[in-house]
């Protein structure tokens, strides 16, 4: 199977592109911030401070980090589904604002009215945070349409999962994107499980990078656990889209360590499978190892980074637990733009 072959080949990573020292350190820090933030969110969920659904990004950090490093921050638009915390952190949204949204406080990015799945930023060009599986495929295609309409040169980076890849509107979007040569890169974050259903049980063809073939959209599978490979593929795909050649599909082979959401015990997969991924393929440990081996930083330097990241997360958690809930008057605001 192509997927397995790619994963095996990628494991050797002999052909992986080199990162500069700065890139390695940036990737390490960004991924670590996501990891620590998400662990904290999981803990706070456990304490009852975060309600409802909470989908953690732990294990998939290299995907959004590599892609964002390859994009133009603040110009290219990004949009994703409900597993969105990592995207916001890497795009530069305030971690305290994200965490306070998770706890439903007034200082949250959506004033506490959106929650874990619904956060947005015009300034950073992040369009959510969308709770309906697959809806972001059409919305992201619309962001690309706006880019082409205005000729502003931006690219829409539209993420969805292996589960959403079976939704009809994804293919409606592929068709229009290619027909009109819209600057969109579809990132399929294939973490192998759509909630509890493995891709083999849900998809008639499991090589999702080929789902654009009947529309003439090029696609490739990428080892989504190696941030360098993610970055390299994203550079290529984004350039393709920006240069007017239309959409591109990148299927990121990745893995989430946690359940689908906090209330998922993940009994549909073996412990060995999870453990193997964590010990052999962890995206952060791969970078850490390279940094040390290449002498880009010492263990102590990395401990400092750990400390900094931890301070950011602690500060975010403190804010998110001390900030008040929204004022009751907020119930009636932001329904319509006042005119």
């Amino acid at each position: 199977m192509a997927r397995k072959a790619t994963a095996t080949k990628a494991k050797a990573t002999t052909n992986a592109p080199e990162f500069t020292k700065d890139q390695e350190l940036e990737a390490f820090r960004e991924m670590l911030l996501i990891r620590r933030f998400e662990e904290k969110a999981g803990q706070m969920y456990g304490m009852g401070l975060i309600g409802g659904f909470c989908h953690l990004y732990i294990g998939q950090e290299a995907v959004v980090t590599g892609i964002t490093m390859a994009s133009k921050k603040g110009e290219d638009a990004q949009i994703t589904g409900y597993r969105d915390h990592g995207h916001m952190l890497v795009m530069g949204l305030d971690p305290a604002g994200v965490m306070a949204e998770l706890t439903g406080r007034q200082g949250g990015l959506s004033k506490g009215k959106g929650g874990s799945m619904h956060m947005f930023s015009n300034e950073h060009r992040f369009y959510g945070g969308n709770g309906i599986v697959g809806a972001q495929a059409s919305l992201g295609t619309g962001l690309a349409f706006a880019s082409k309409y205005r000729g502003d040169g931006s690219v829409s980076i539209t993420y969805f999962g292996d589960g959403a890849a079976n939704q009809g509107q994804v293919y409606e979007s592929f068709n229009m994107a290619k027909l009109w040569k819209l600057p969109v890169v579809y990132i399929i974050e294939n973490n192998k499980y759509a909630m509890g259903t493995s891709i083999e049980r849900a998809a008639s063809t499991t090589d999702l990078s080929q789902r654009g073939v009947s529309f003439g959209i090029p696609g490739e599978q990428v080892d989504g656990m190696d941030v360098r490979l993610v970055y390299e593929a994203a550079k290529r795909a984004i350039e393709h889209a920006r240069s007017g050649k239309g959409p591109y599909i990148l299927e990121m082979l990745t893995y989430r360590y946690r359940g689908h959401s906090m209330s998922d015990p993940a009994k549909y997969r073996s412990k060995d499978e999870v453990t193997a991924m964590r010990t052999e393929r962890d995206p952060i440990e791969q970078v850490r190892k390279r940094i040390i081996e290449l002498g880009y930083a010492s263990e102590d330097d990395l401990k400092e980074v750990e400390k900094e990241v931890r301070a950011i997360v602690t500060q975010a958690a403190d804010f998110a637990t001390s900030d008040p809930e929204p004022d009751p008057s907020e119930l009636w605001t932001d329904i319509l733009v006042d005119e």
Binding site: G46, M47, G48, L49, G51, I132, M176, P265, S322
Partner: protein, 466 residues
């Protein structure tokens, strides 16, 4: 020294069994290490360490049942700390009354106070519609069809704002399935008048995304029946966006097309979605009857910074009316139009329902009944104030619509009048609606399924006890 607390792993979990410790006292752990397994009636879950440190005292033995959420289950020693013999922090455990639930507080964590009385929701802000603009004396009135009025509205707004574009099936080269977009392609070109594949869900979503990015799409559905393919994007994406983003990102756009019964096309092509969309906060819903209202309100809809559902009617496209010849004729959203003043009985309707209501009114007036006829024009926000004022005067009201009765526009008006004009009513609020059946094909049955002029007259006679 942080305690490790019994976690809640779902919003409803209150307690669980500490099934197994996977670490022992003195073990070093780091973030993400699995330290214990807990069981609830639903599942077995793993507990991960969040901080780095050494496991101090295990405060709860493995195999213990019914451990309350947020009870300390172990100590975690961070660098340099010694295990403490201090009594396990029973006192630190939240009190019974504060136990879990997503809102529950924990020690050391400030939480908003929970009042014992349920907080009353603050009152909804009142919507005050603006009045219609004055038409200056001497303005020429031009007779046009509703179809032309809609086209002119789009053309004028597209001339004024290059962010406005039209997208839909057959809107460009075919000149519109119902010829509403006639001539737009020739004037504005294929970049702004865009033929789509037959893919409602996709192009509605694409339009919403373009609106997020600041464009002002006009999304045409060939009919609103096909718009059902796209209702998820209209409601879940467009209508909710502003609220979910705390006011940051909006969807300034228009979804438009013919709604309601056409003629002899059966159940899937003949239905009225007015009540459906009017139910949804975050949307504006407009359903005009006259050519002037069609033009003035479509221009307002395109300019609106909000998502607007604009419900036209295929049968009305060819009807004519007078439209003032002005540079910029825009009507206020949310304002009903009093089509005829009267004092005996109020008849209220909108869109195609106005045709039955108007014809009935003519006959009733001829028979000596002084009917006050109101055209809602906008269904959301609904101009309840105008209806209430009318009923205070007449004491009687009949509502007319093509849609089904249950949860319909008439049902909403009836409920509003119970709240706002109960003491003024001299007769029960009476509805004339489409029958509660899928639209039949046979000509005789179709006629029976729709409201009729005679039914409106009968209803008026009933409430005026004639």
């Amino acid at each position: 020294m942080p305690d490790i607390l019994m976690p809640a792993l779902s919003p409803t979990m209150e307690e669980g069994k500490l099934a197994k410790w996977l670490v022992k006292e003195g073990d070093k752990v780091g973030p993400g290490d699995v330290i214990a397994e807990i069981e609830t009636d639903k599942a077995t879950m793993e507990v991960e360490a969040v901080d780095e440190g050494t496991i101090g005292k295990l405060l709860v033995e493995e195999g213990t049942d019914s451990v309350k959420v947020n009870t300390p289950i172990a100590q975690l020693l961070v660098e340099g700390e010694e295990p403490s013999d201090a009594a396990p922090a029973a006192a630190d455990a939240p009190k019974e009354s504060e136990q879990p639930g997503p809102d529950a507080g924990t020690n050391g964590v400030s939480q908003p106070t929970v009042s014992s009385k349920p907080d009353a929701a603050p009152a909804a802000p009142q919507f005050t519609p603006k009045g219609d603009p004055d038409i200056p004396d001497g303005v020429e009135m031009v007779t046009v069809t509703v179809r032309e009025a809609l086209r002119d509205a789009m053309a004028e707004e597209m001339r004024a704002d290059k962010d406005v574009f039209v997208m839909g099936e057959e809107v460009a080269e075919y000149q519109g399935a119902y010829k509403v977009t006639q001539g737009l392609l020739q004037e504005f070109g294929p970049e702004r008048v865009i033929d789509t594949p037959i893919t409602e869900h996709g192009f509605a979503g694409l339009g919403v995304g373009a609106a997020f990015a600041g464009l002002k799409p006009i999304i045409e559905f060939m009919t609103w029946n096909f718009g059902m393919q796209a209702i998820d994007q209209i409601i879940n994406s467009a209508a909710k966006q502003l609220y979910m983003s705390g006011g940051q990102v909006s969807a300034p756009m228009v979804f438009r097309g013919p709604n309601g019964a056409a003629a002899r096309v059966g159940a899937q092509h003949s239905q009225d979605f007015s009540a459906w969309y009017s139910h949804v906060p975050g949307l504006i819903v407009i359903a005009p009857y006259t050519a002037a209202d069609a033009k003035g309100l479509l221009k307002a809809a395109i300019r609106s910074k909000n998502p607007v559902v604009f419900l036209e009617n295929e049968i009305l496209y060819g009807t004519t009316g007078e439209v003032p010849k002005m540079d910029d004729f825009v009507l206020p959203i949310g304002k009903a139009r009093i089509a005829r003043e009267g004092k005996d009985v109020t008849v209220v309707s909108f869109s195609m329902g106005m045709r039955y209501a108007t014809q009935a009114t003519e006959k009733l007036v001829a028979a000596g009944v002084d009917v006050e006829l109101i055209d809602l024009r906008t269904l959301r926000p609904m101009d309840i104030g105008t209806i209430v004022e009318s009923v205070k005067k007449t004491g009687r009201i009949v509502t007319v619509e093509e849609g089904w009765p249950q949860g319909g526009i008439g049902a909403e008006i009836a409920a509003q009048l119970m709240e706002h004009a109960f003491d003024y009513l001299d007769a029960p609020v009476t509805r004339v609606t489409g029958k509660d059946v899928p639209m039949p094909y046979a000509a005789n049955l179709e006629k029976l399924a729709l409201p009729s002029v005679d039914e409106v007259i009968a209803a008026v006679n009933a409430v005026t006890y004639r």
